[in-house]
């Protein structure tokens, strides 16, 4: 009798361990336990069992490569070109039957036609991951898939990445017709967190048969905010959803820094992770922190009145006279149409080299910049990339241009002083609190919320200097790292991937053979 009762009590004892008894059952169990040593032993045995299980050594942490493996087999596989699967299915087992032979002939014919078609097909970017405006995980390489086999060297030579420092850090490889940025056979490198990237393949990139892409292809996206296992950001609907066509239209050939997703306070579902003020909206073109308004676009030395020969404009020590007075510092929102010739200039000032592609290749740019005021010249300059923008210092004026990825820019003075010169400190992998004059300005102006951290420990010294040309409403600046920046007096800026050999100092100038001095600002 007792053992039968004990039998039924065992289930109750187990349920008691789990807090699953009703008050009546619990009372019934307690009564039984009070008089049954065997069941009391069972209860203590169950409790010992629980302790033993709970005090087992802790489980290890997941291996770091797990994340990449999962991504490779999920998102990446989905995006992978289907080309691999296609041809494999086409190869037939050898057979001597007539039917099989016919099929084989058809297949060969189809292949020949396909190759012929492929050869004739104009090259284009068929798709990319990420797409424009997307928020992208830092662990995921960037992939650009072309519609046909490309000349790898040509594409890589015409590849531009902003922040420019990333071009050297990120490995580049090919998988079929897909260009993979951030991984190769040996390694995978994470992208920088919370960083606005622009990747461009210039129009000159060629397919295997020498046909050029014909137009620049550009994608701009932002990375997630994952740092050392911290939280990922919640993209705002407008950031996460844009599904722009990955193939760039001619209008998209320019890199518009106003386009990348700017974190705005995210709507309700994610209050904890989206409200960081990392992109303070600048209410005016020149923010309050700016010690100086936008600089004048004329060079420091006044241009000489004599016109110069067109063949060697930048060497000429006598640039065109500036018919218009030095542009006012106030914004000039309605520049005059560029079609009308300068009334007092006998010869139009040329815009050549890398600047020509930007200026003459884009009517909007012409309209925004207005007419050129002087010849391009070179200044000593350094550059430093940040998570959300960059700083460029031109030493001829000791001015630092702060270019924020929300499309605004402002100048600040170089406040360098030996005693305040900070040294760079790595705060996260590949992220630094900057040193040097940029670091001093970054601290003094409290630019961390705006720009984020530096993505390189030291400023990049432009060995050939930065090429600058002033216009009515702003200036063009060519960085050696492969971008032309258009800085407008209304406080906005845009960047354009620069084509051509950037180590050639005449980029942005007219004469191909004209060399540039370290600081050949046009001298009177």
């Amino acid at each position: 009798m007792k053992s039968r009762e004990c039998e039924s009590m065992r289930l109750l004892i187990s349920a008691y361990m789990d807090g699953e008894l009703s008050p009546q059952e619990e009372e019934q169990l307690h009564k039984h336990l009070a008089q049954c040593a065997q069941c009391r032993n069972l209860l203590s045995e169950y409790q010992r069992l629980r302790d033993q299980l709970r005090y087992l050594p802790s489980s290890p942490e997941p291996p770091p490569q797990l994340r990449q493996h999962v991504w490779r087999r999920t998102v990446q596989r989905e995006l992978a070109p289907r080309a691999k699967r296609g041809p494999r299915g086409l190869f037939l087992r050898p057979s001597f039957s007539t039917a099989a032979f016919s099929v084989a002939v058809l297949v060969v014919l189809a292949l020949v036609l396909t190759i012929g078609y492929q050869r004739a097909l104009p090259p284009a970017v068929a798709g990319s991951s990420p797409q424009n405006g997307q928020v992208w995980p830092i662990y995921q390489p960037i992939e650009i898939t072309f519609n046909k086999p490309m000349d790898h060297r040509s594409v890589i030579a015409h590849l531009r990445i902003a922040p420019a420092a990333e071009r050297e850090r990120l490995p580049v490889s090919w998988r079929g017709t897909t260009l993979v940025i951030g991984a190769d056979q040996e390694q995978q490198v994470s992208l920088l967190p919370d960083t606005v990237y622009t990747v461009a393949v210039l129009a000159g990139a060629q397919d295997q048969w020498g046909h050029p892409l014909g137009k620049d292809w550009v994608v701009t996206f932002r990375t997630t905010r994952v740092i050392a296992g911290q939280q990922t950001p919640v993209p705002t609907p407008s950031q996460a959803t844009p599904k722009l066509s990955p193939t760039a239209t001619p209008e998209r050939a320019q890199v518009e820094p106003t386009e990348p997703p700017i974190p705005t306070p995210t709507p309700s579902p994610s209050p904890t992770i989206a409200a960081e003020p990392n992109q303070p909206a600048h209410p005016s073109p020149v923010p309050a922190t700016t010690p100086r308004p936008a600089p004048t676009v004329t060079p420091s030395p006044p241009p000489a009145p004599t016109p110069t020969p067109a063949s060697t404009p930048e060497i000429a020590s006598t640039p065109e006279p500036s018919p218009t007075p030095t542009p006012a510092l106030s914004p000039s929102p309605t520049p005059e149409p560029t079609v009308s010739p300068l009334p007092t200039t006998p010869e139009p000032i040329p815009v050549t080299g890398a600047f020509a592609q930007v200026y003459w290749g884009n009517a909007t740019v012409q309209q925004k910049l207005g007419r050129p005021l002087e010849y391009a010249y070179t200044v000593s300059a350094t550059e430093m990339g940040f998570q959300r923008g960059l700083m460029i210092e031109r030493f001829d004026r000791l001015a630092i241009y702060v270019l924020v990825s929300d499309g605004t820019w402002f100048p600040i003075a170089d406040t360098w002083a030996p005693e305040t010169w900070p040294t760079a400190q790595e705060v996260e992998p590949n992220l630094w609190s900057p040193g040097g004059s940029f670091g001093a300005a970054w601290r003094e102006q409290a630019l961390q919320p705006t720009l984020g951290y530096a993505i390189e420990p030291e400023a990049y010294l432009m060995a050939q200097g930065a090429r600058i040309q002033a216009f009515e409403n702003g200036l063009l600046l060519l960085s050696e790292r492969g971008f032309v920046y258009m800085l407008l007096e209304n406080g906005t800026w845009e960047q354009f991937p620069a084509a051509g050999n950037l180590s050639n100092p005449s980029s942005g100038s007219a004469g191909a053979g004209s060399s540039l001095e370290a600081t050949p600002v046009p001298q009177p």
Binding site: E20, L49, P60, Q140
Partner: protein
């Protein structure tokens, strides 16, 4: 069942909705939240890092594919644990207890309950007990083992376990009872046969 990065229920739903629409960053957020707990749960089930890594991958790949078909009020944790549990049970069933990989002794040296070094004799006894417990666990019926791990390690209620295992609450109580009995019986047996 708590993971590394806390997400509120509302945030989680937001991520799920985004991920279902194909937002890869949202899937990453879910992965990031559950990678660690799922890996550790699978490690407990399988007893070695190799299986844990393989099956965690498998779990998230299955989840990625199944995500578009899930309901809007998805309980992500229970769902992922269910996928992980099924992946483990599949493997365990296939192996049919023929070849059990030995449990790894990971983290044994970390386990000093009072925060100070114990004397070698006590440590040896504790290590022996842990080895015995692990050995028993690894030889139990996989479903019993699953129920016990969900209850004792993950701290889930019978209702939650039922959601993962596809059982009613009373069936879970019954499985837990049988699991405890099996554990107790095997532990006793192995304790008796263990060399002194």
């Amino acid at each position: 069942m708590d993971g590394s990065a806390a997400l509120s229920a509302a945030e989680e739903l937001w991520w799920v909705t985004r991920a279902k629409e194909g937002d890869q960053a949202a899937f990453e957020a879910i992965f990031q939240r559950y990678e660690r707990p799922i890996y550790q749960f699978i490690y407990r089930m399988m007893g070695n890092a190799e299986d844990a890594s393989d099956l965690t991958q498998e779990c998230f790949i299955r989840a990625y594919r199944a995500l578009p078909q899930t309901s809007d009020d998805l309980n992500v944790s229970a769902w992922l644990h269910r996928i992980a549990a099924n992946a483990c049970l599949d493997v365990l069933r296939r192996r049919k207890r023929i070849r059990w990989l030995p449990w790894e002794g990971h983290g044994q040296s970390e386990l000093h309950l009072n925060g100070h070094l114990e004397d070698p004799e006590r440590e040896a006894i504790r290590n022996e007990t842990q080895a015995l417990v692990q050995s028993v666990l690894s030889q139990m019926n996989p479903r019993h083992r699953l129920a016990l791990i969900l209850r004792e390690y993950e701290g889930l209620s019978c209702e939650e376990i039922g959601e993962i295992m596809g059982l009613s609450r009373s069936a879970v109580k019954s499985v837990l009872f049988r699991a405890r009995e099996e554990f107790r019986r095997m532990y006793r047996m192995m304790e008796e046969t263990a060399p002194p």
